[in-house]
Symmetry: C2
Subunit: 372 residues, 2 copies
């Protein structure tokens, strides 16, 4: 089953796997889809290392890189990275720092081993530019995806001049329309059930509106897709492909800790929440003591993005590193969509791809049967 967008990219199946794990990128691309490496939070050096590994293992297949390219932040252009960090640190109230530290300590999460290991500038333009530069040195990296709004014109031009495609996430109709006007090649449209940052409108309603609004741009449907029936639903409404993130989190190739896998496997679809408590912008994640704590009336309100993200940088890396420590999951950042309720068994990426395509074919046959 192929869409025009598949043909343009030269791949067999319109399945895009968003993942932070290089193994998942490679396995999905080798199984006929496209792995897209989520590089937010990576330094250029880390990205180089990951892409070296991917290039060495992916054969003749292609892949994508997803990052966060901001339009603008105050002071972003005129500061050095060091000045930017100092400016950010100064803007975070003491009360917020203390509250975050207390939550982590109460849950017994160990300190980060190296106190001099500073925060990442993952949401800065400086950082984003370095990641895009690195990705474009790779001939097999055929697409750049922006997780954070419409990328600036110079990045769009740079990607196009390199002969690659550029697209961006959109959780609201107006964002998709802005992407089209900026000359992007495709839109990843995520409904509110999706993991991470998403808007209020659900996939069932948002996808067809987006497909019509940005036509003839291809729209990849995101949010709520975990099996082949959901994939057929997306393709039925005119999507050019499906963009899945959650499903791979418990694949055997994913580099997640057993405790985190367990959190995902045991969660129902009612166990996620849209919360500002980690990034400062509403994102969907597993509900836990951390997300609940920031909702109380007598606790600090989450700061706006990007401040909350810098405040919680330490929480995220510590809970990730020490995921095996008891109680750590109570305050861990586990972004995931509502499809988490379907995620009960650990399978290889190849098996997941195989199931998706089989379920798709079976569902199509069933629905054809109704009209015959």
């Amino acid at each position: 089953m192929q869409t025009d967008f598949c043909k343009q990219l030269g791949v067999d199946a319109p399945i895009f796997a968003f993942t932070h794990c290089r193994d998942v990128v490679v396995e999905v691309s080798k199984a006929g889809g496209i792995g897209v490496l989520g590089a937010v939070g990576f330094s250029a050096e880390q990205l180089k290392e990951e892409l070296d590994w991917i290039d060495a293992h992916i054969g003749d297949h292609i892949y994508g890189v997803d990052t966060a390219i901001p339009q603008k932040y105050e002071g972003m252009d005129k500061s050095t990275p060091e000045e930017l960090v100092a400016m950010i640190q100064a803007a975070i109230p003491e009360q917020h720092r203390d509250f975050a530290a207390k939550l982590l300590n109460d849950a017994g999460v160990p300190e980060w081993p190296d106190a001099n290991d500073g925060i990442s500038l993952s949401f800065s333009a400086v950082q984003a530019q370095a990641l895009v530069d690195e990705a474009l040195t790779r001939p097999k990296c055929k697409m750049i995806v922006n997780a954070l709004g419409t990328p600036p014109p110079e990045i769009v031009k740079q990607v196009h001049d390199a002969g690659r495609l550029i697209g961006a996430l959109a959780g609201r109709l107006k964002h998709g329309i802005a992407h089209k006007e900026a000359g992007l090649d495709f839109v990843v449209c995520q409904g509110s059930e999706g993991g991470g940052h998403a808007g209020e409108v659900t996939s069932m309603v948002l996808w067809p509106q987006m497909i019509d609004a940005v036509a003839p741009l291809p729209v990849l449907a995101a949010g709520g897709i975990g099996n082949g029936r959901q994939m057929l639903a997306a393709m039925s409404m005119g999507a050019a492909g499906v963009w899945m993130g959650s499903r791979w989190l418990i694949s055997t190739e994913a580099q997640s800790e057993p405790a985190q896998r367990e959190s995902y496997k045991s969660a129902s679809s009612e166990d996620t929440v849209r919360s500002r408590s980690f990034t400062g912008k509403t994102a969907r994640m597993l509900k836990n003591e951390w997300t609940e704590a920031w909702e109380q009336e007598d606790t600090p309100d989450p700061l706006p993005m990007p401040l909350q993200g810098y405040l919680t940088f330490d929480a995220v890396r510590r809970t990730h590193r020490y995921a095996g420590v008891e109680d750590c999951q109570k305050v861990a950042f586990n972004p995931v969509g509502q499809v988490v309720g379907q995620m009960n068994t650990e399978e290889s990426c190849r098996d997941i791809m195989y199931s998706l395509l089989n379920e798709y074919a079976e569902a199509l046959e069933n629905v054809q049967g109704l009209s015959s």
Copy 2:
């Protein structure tokens, strides 16, 4: 296009139209679907009048009746209707009454003409029983649907003994499972994008889980369906039919006021909110000054169901009756799903049915083309 459930009912298309307007019931059934009259809030006399009209106009076609049959409320069984009203009135704080009255007065909504015209017992078992009794006297009424949880065993038995089908709405997996265990014949599964009462999980995620959980019971997909592409998406995931409410609100046959139609036509999919401000239970409706007012920190919190519903009974009937009064829409109850953003033109029910089936066929052809 027919499902087994269609065949069981003897209808051409698996399209169920939930509506409060008898004309819509008749037109949809005559066009090959099934109109389902929403009778919550009707007295038995009113229902009799509506069903007389439907029976006289629907020809040989069938229809359904939807009502709210509560499992139990405190005091419900041991009180007369008059005692029940007195008990409810006493339970509503003065502060809440004053706040509701002020909102209506500030918006210039005229008083109800007859001060002796008391509140309806629409959520009581006494009332529900009378509506079911009336509906079952009608041979063409083939299905009873409960909008409010699993109906009590005696009602299930009564409906079955009369040779009709009984189903119920479910916005959570566990509710659908309870319906199945209670011996119901089908489940109407509504995702969070739907109008009125719904849960947290969206249609894309909830429908396939429900279909699997209650199999082999037929599941009607509700929430987020306004066109044939969305209908195909639902059928692709294994639904036995689609249950649509919002789409008919601006049909030419609907008995809605021009101002209310205008509110729906001008709203985007981002203009709805899940609010407890009218019924006491979270329901999706158009955002306006009323829904915002009950969200503020210094205003009363909505009361639990059914109290808030009795408190706002007067607001609902006044804003409905005086919908044409300027500013009335600012405090009106306009329950609708996120598909409201697609509802821009007024068409007849027959034309809507025709579009749905045509779009469905076209979308199916397109998706088949991807696999050929």
